[in-house]
Assembly symmetry: C2
Homo-oligomer: 205 residues x 2
Amino acid sequence: MAKIIPVKNGTKKDVISKKASRLFREKGFAATSMRDIAEAVGIEAPSLYNHIGSKKEILQEICFRIANLFTSHITSVEQSTDRYAVKIELIIRFHIFMMLTDFENVYISDHEWKHLAEPYLSNFKNQRRSYRSRLSEIIRQGMISKEFKKIDPYVTVLTLLSAIGGIEGWHRSNKTVDARVLEENMVTLLLEGLKISLTEKKQKN
Amino acid sequence: MAKIIPVKNGTKKDVISKKASRLFREKGFAATSMRDIAEAVGIEAPSLYNHIGSKKEILQEICFRIANLFTSHITSVEQSTDRYAVKIELIIRFHIFMMLTDFENVYISDHEWKHLAEPYLSNFKNQRRSYRSRLSEIIRQGMISKEFKKIDPYVTVLTLLSAIGGIEGWHRSNKTVDARVLEENMVTLLLEGLKISLTEKKQKN
DNA sequence: AATAAAAACTAATAATCGTTAGTTTTGTGC
DNA sequence: GCACAAAACTAACGATTATTAGTTTTTATT
């Protein structure tokens, strides 16, 4: 009866993916049924299979699309000639940007990837590990060049990444903080903790 | 056949809860079946009901036990006469302590609470909101007293909380960082970003 | 208007879910 | 060793799951 109405520049598959994203985030992947998705789209569950291969496929495409965006971005940052503090700032800002512009999918890529099936699961975990390792390396080099405090790079990475992931809570509950304020505050909080302050520099020289 | 062997100072219910915690964290609440839990415990699924009321009940008890610990702690911090920077440090350290000593349950309370049933769900969300609000208030007062930079308190709370939650990643993947190093690094990173540095103080006076 | 393809539908599959009922085994106190 | 309670078991319930098969309706093309 009801027919999927694709929005401009989007296939019907995209409509399904978008509705599924919302539900995966709200209820979790495992607790979201194909009937839930179908209802959100406005069709019956079996009709979904005219557009997608399986429930797992939806999750795979979301997770890898997001993961690839982050991988591409860190590659471009690595190739730049900026100082390490600038590189980290670029990365923090990109994470915040992604969180603000594609919140549902970033959230899913962060929290629901464990429901991926093999071999996608292993692939995803490898990509995730690689990203963190490359980010650690930038921080490590920033410490060598005396831009950053000497603290454990991996602890720093995990702290930064999870801090940024926390925008999810803001996104849901507090619309009064505007995006620009959020971004500047987070960059301040995270980058200033990492950088060597002027007083510390004086002490070391 | 197999009988549950309760550990010292623990009921059989505690054994079930502990095995369930592990599975809820690894697979998520919705993706963990009663048969999964039973297998981990070493009995058949229906036997679980000699010790627990329902699957949901296990989750409820985990979530509220953890939430109550955090509520109690922030109450004691509020009543102390420490400076605001010390109060925040105490709270950060308590979060890290909880994450290190009761990791599985803290993780579940953080990530799986959405599967609580009403009225527990609303109760939990209220308690969560209240905790964040009280933490915001401490930070706000620290800004008024010029101990902290003037940034949005709520953004700060979300950043701190989610940063600490990120220990989960460390806990799983990197055993080479010891707990003390982790704690000191995180406190440095998070608290130094928040505090007004000496150079900034000089500029303002 | 006829035809072909795309996309909806209904009906039904086997599997798995949390849980209940009823029974048997195990452990405990006398 | 007898009785009672605790805790295990098997069998099965109805509900829900993702998905397939087969059919009908809608849309697009000529």
